[in-house]
């Protein structure tokens, strides 16, 4: 019975850690961006300050029930995604539901929040939000293609769809997925850039043209909830890709290093690239990444 309590504690602690790490990374990214652009930049704790301020603000207006529920949909999806991802290797405390779900489920639950957000943003009536959603969904069809091909290759090769089992086969540095199945991993990591939506793939938010798009009508506590959701989701995505391609992590120190390096990858690609147009972004994924993913799947299928 006492074990169950510990598990319950895990369900509470995991999202908290996720949001703290997520906010820290967001703060760091602003600092790094500023240094690259030869500015001083805000302090690393700026994200925490922002979100605490937003939580304590009174929200004055809303546009109806769907907008009211939009951020809730988003945070539900973020936290549920996190529960089904093994945060640490061999740790029952952070395993949460990860033995009871699989990758196909994760692919779907990750869209749940975006759909909820899109619906919420839709009700506000802001044309920028609608344009942002239209771009975001279009872009999703772009990066999902190499993502699916890469992941399928991995699932088929190891004959499992469970993330825990996929971590288990990557024991030791030389068995990381990126070395075992380089092609599938490259396709997956290129798709990862789309998941993170940094430049050149930040078309849905495009601060300069769309005034940050879908979230533009959300203020106060709505925005606070959405920021929390975003930080948790960023962490969940990073852990997912570390679990998939870099062998997971057996302690927090390892996890932080791996996720941060992965985060920097998306950030640095963004810092040196201008934004794509939406169709360029889609076509980018439909060309080389898809070809690489298809080749990976073909090799696996051919080997039987």
């Amino acid at each position: 019975m006492s074990f169950d309590w510990i598990k319950l504690l895990g369900f509470i602690v995991t999202p908290l850690i996720a949001s703290v790490v997520g906010f820290t990374y967001m703060g760091l990214s602003r600092k790094i961006t500023a240094r690259v652009q030869n500015r001083v930049g805000p302090s690393v704790s700026q994200s925490f300050i922002d979100v605490v301020k937003l939580y304590s603000k009174k929200t004055a207006i809303h546009h109806g029930l769907m907008q009211h529920m939009g951020p809730v949909f988003a945070i539900t999806a973020s936290i549920t995604t996190l529960f089904f991802i093994p945060v640490l290797k061999d740790s029952l405390f952070f395993a949460n539901f990860s033995f009871r779900g699989d990758l196909v489920f994760l692919m779907y639950i990750m869209v749940f929040g975006q759909l909820g957000m899109a619906l919420g943003a839709g009700q506000t009536g802001n044309p920028n939000s609608a344009i942002g959603v239209s771009r975001g969904l279009s872009q999703m069809v772009g990066y999902k293609v190499p993502y699916v091909l890469g992941l399928l290759a991995i699932m088929v090769h190891f004959k499992t769809t469970n993330l825990q089992e996929l971590i288990a086969v990557q024991d030791g540095f030389r068995n990381w997925m990126i070395f075992q199945m380089p092609l599938a991993s490259i396709a997956g990591l290129l798709a990862y850039l789309g998941f993170m939506a940094y430049a050149p793939f930040d078309v849905p938010f495009a601060p300069a043209e769309l005034a940050s798009g879908p979230p533009s009508e959300f203020g106060g506590k709505y925005l606070a909830l959405m920021m929390t959701s975003r930080s948790i989701f960023t962490f969940a995505k990073l852990v997912l890709f570390v679990d998939l391609f870099f062998g997971g992590a057996s302690n927090f120190f390892e996890l932080l290093i791996k996720t941060f390096v992965l985060y920097l990858f998306a950030l640095f690609v963004g810092l040196v690239n201008p934004r794509f147009r939406t169709e360029q972004s889609i076509q980018f994924w439909w060309k080389w990444p898809t070809a690489i993913g298809a080749l990976a799947l073909l090799l696996v299928a051919w080997k039987g």
């Binding site: 529960f83 489920f105 692919m107 869209v111 009536g125 044309p127 239209s134 279009s138 293609v145 009508e217």
Partner: protein
């Protein structure tokens, strides 16, 4: 014996009902509603009471031995017909209130339902074909119900149905030449004795016949226009149930007729890929539709593609996925067509570019459409996810790697049209012209919400559906079908625990909702959709801030190279060329007697010259 008499009784009551409605409509219009309800609910109740295996009722008609009966497989489909049939009928009563020619409408409507009962209860090929044709005729009358302009859609539907019917008839007659007995039981026995070519030929003919009704590419072209033209209550039935008759037939053909075609046979693979291509292309066409019903029609075609894949692959898991998806499609597509029909009834429009911001005017229709699109998208925790999960896992474990990629991509692209559907109609700017719109009356929203709650139930406890499906699959020849109430698992031993998932989703959702509602309840007030962030500019009353036209323009540009070709164009050019060919033939018949005399002479000369060839006679 009691139970046995029920089937003729059900069919008699159902068919009598349709005629009775037609008569009473002109004599006692006030009794019409009562009669419609009695004659749809009574047969549905009797169907519900039928046992899974009732034995056969035999009788002779024109020298042919006909037999009717039920088994677990037909019972599953008869319950789908009964359920959706009753709900669509209740919905139709309010929907059709102000329209004319109601006697005609209900004659065709109830006849379609009755004929579908007939199809699933038929235990011989002749009555199957007979009811199949009645269904086609009745549904054709409904497709052209609204106006003369729908003739084109109607004729297209009819031509394709006729092609399907002829290939069915050919297959049946061909089979009869071997068996001399039309009953399904005898047919199942004889088929394994035929050689492969014969089985292949029969199978292709049957699949063509059934494939037309389930809108499989390349014989899908009738579907978008026919679904578009039919009145909404019937479209719900058309797409939800009538298309499942094709699925029903395909299931019979693939698992009962084709004893000789094992898994991985070329016909199965081709059929599965046809399903995959259908799903992918129909999804992409759906994205660019601006008419709500046409969009849903293409979506319907795509969903039927998934079902076909599952049936064609033919592992226990994929068949379970296919039948589950078929039931789910029956539920969510009728739900969506009903929701869109409500919007059409209240606003008179189906144009996605014109409608906007109805969420606060028609909240219940919004909830229905919302649940519907979440189910179609296959997002957890609703029922659509269960079907999608089973389908993907069954394809992965049965080594259809590229097919699963195609399926997955088309299902991701489905988000695009689904979001557009709900956004353009219910969300976005609220316009003055829609201020007077009210929610539809209760006979319309009650059926919609019943279906919506079913999608939730099946998402949490799909076992409720798995049980009858497993029974039906036993009839199809799958002895060992594993299922559990709330856990899905594949043959590799991976699983998804739906209870864990729903616990997580619902608890976090309720906590979040409680938090935001409790904190914001008193402080926030509602503002209109004109009161938004517009970079300092204040939008005037009449400023148009709706973003709906060309909603996916960037995607269209990106995907343009893929969409150069359309199958409809192929058929149209085929028809055109055929017309030219017949035009040439017209020149042969000049109307001049001397030309004809010349033809006769030429014919005789040719006959003499080639007589050795033709008759084997040497001159």
């Amino acid at each position: 014996m009691d139970q046995l008499l029920n089937i003729p009784a059900i069919l008699a009551i159902a068919f009598a009902g349709s005629i009775l409605v037609f008569i009473t409509h002109s004599v006692f219009p006030k009794l019409r509603t009562a009669i419609i309800l009695i004659f749809t609910i009574l047969p549905a109740y009797l169907v519900w009471q039928l046992p899974a295996d009732s034995g056969l009722v035999h009788f002779t008609l024109g020298g042919f031995d006909l037999s009717w009966g039920t088994n677990a497989y037909s019972r599953l489909f008869s319950l789908l017909i009964a359920g959706i049939g009753v709900l669509a009928t209740i919905y139709s009563i309010s929907f059709m209130k102000k329209r004319s020619r109601l006697g005609f409408f209900y004659l065709a409507f109830l006849t379609t339902i009755s004929a579908m009962y007939g199809i699933v209860f038929s235990q011989d090929l002749l009555s199957l074909f007979f009811f199949w044709e009645i269904m086609t005729w009745a549904s054709f009358l409904l497709v052209i119900y609204y106006s003369f302009e729908d003739q084109k859609a109607g004729i297209r539907y009819f031509v394709f149905s006729a092609i399907g019917a002829y290939s069915l008839l050919t297959a049946i007659v061909y089979l009869y030449s071997f068996t001399g007995d039309l009953s399904l039981a005898a047919t199942f026995k004889v088929i394994p004795e035929l050689d492969t070519t014969q089985i292949t030929f029969i199978t292709i003919l049957f699949l063509l016949g059934f494939g037309v009704k389930s809108a499989l590419m390349p014989v899908h072209v009738w579907a978008p226009d026919a679904y578009r033209s039919a009145p909404s209550p019937f479209t719900a039935l058309f797409s939800g149930v009538l298309s499942k008759m094709g699925v029903f037939g395909m299931g019979l053909v693939l698992f009962k007729f084709m004893g000789g075609l094992e898994q991985g046979h070329i016909i199965r693979e081709i059929l599965a890929w046809l399903g995959g291509i259908t799903a992918l292309l129909a999804t992409f066409y759906a994205i660019f539709q601006t008419d709500a019903k046409k969009l849903l029609a293409y979506s319907s075609i795509a969903q039927l593609g998934y079902i076909t894949i599952g049936l064609a692959v033919g592992t226990p898991m994929s068949v379970m996925a296919a039948i589950f998806l078929a039931l789910m499609h029956g539920i969510f597509k009728s739900m969506l067509f009903m929701g869109i029909g409500s919007v059409f009834l209240q606003t008179g429009s189906l144009d996605l570019n014109e409608l906007t911001g109805l969420i606060r005017r028609m909240p219940l229709s919004f909830v229905t459409v919302l649940m519907g699109i979440i189910t179609v998208a296959g997002v957890p925790p609703l029922g659509g996810f269960v079907g999608k999960w089973l389908l993907y896992e069954s394809l992965i474990t049965s080594e259809h790697y590229f097919l699963v990629a195609v399926t997955f991509i088309s299902s991701t692209a489905a988000f695009l049209y689904l979001y557009r559907l709900i956004f353009s109609i219910f969300l976005g700017q609220e316009e003055k012209e829609f201020d007077h719109i009210k929610e539809v009356p209760w006979p319309m929203w009650v059926p919609m919400l019943i279906l919506a709650s079913l999608t939730m139930l099946t998402g949490l406890m799909p076992g409720l559906f798995f049980e009858p499906i497993a029974e039906a699959m036993k009839f199809l020849g799958f002895q060992q079908v594993n299922w559990e109430m709330s856990v899905l698992f594949n043959t590799w031993g991976n699983q998804i625990d739906l209870l864990a998932m729903s616990t997580s989703i619902f608890s976090v959702f309720l906590l979040g909702l409680a938090f935001i509602t409790w904190k914001n309840y008193k402080t926030t007030r509602y503002v209109t959709t004109k009161d938004i962030h517009t970079s300092g500019e204040i939008p005037t009353e009449n400023e148009n801030l709706t973003y709906a036209v060309d909603f996916y323009r960037p995607f269209e540009r990106a995907a343009a190279p893929v969409f150069k070709y359309k199958v409809t164009h192929f058929y149209e050019s085929f028809a055109e060329n055929a017309e030219h060919l017949f035009d040439l033939l017209r020149h042969v018949y000049t109307g001049n007697a001397q030309t004809y005399a010349l033809y006769v002479v030429i014919f005789l000369v040719l006959l003499i010259v080639f007589s050795g060839w033709i008759f084997g006679i040497q001159i």
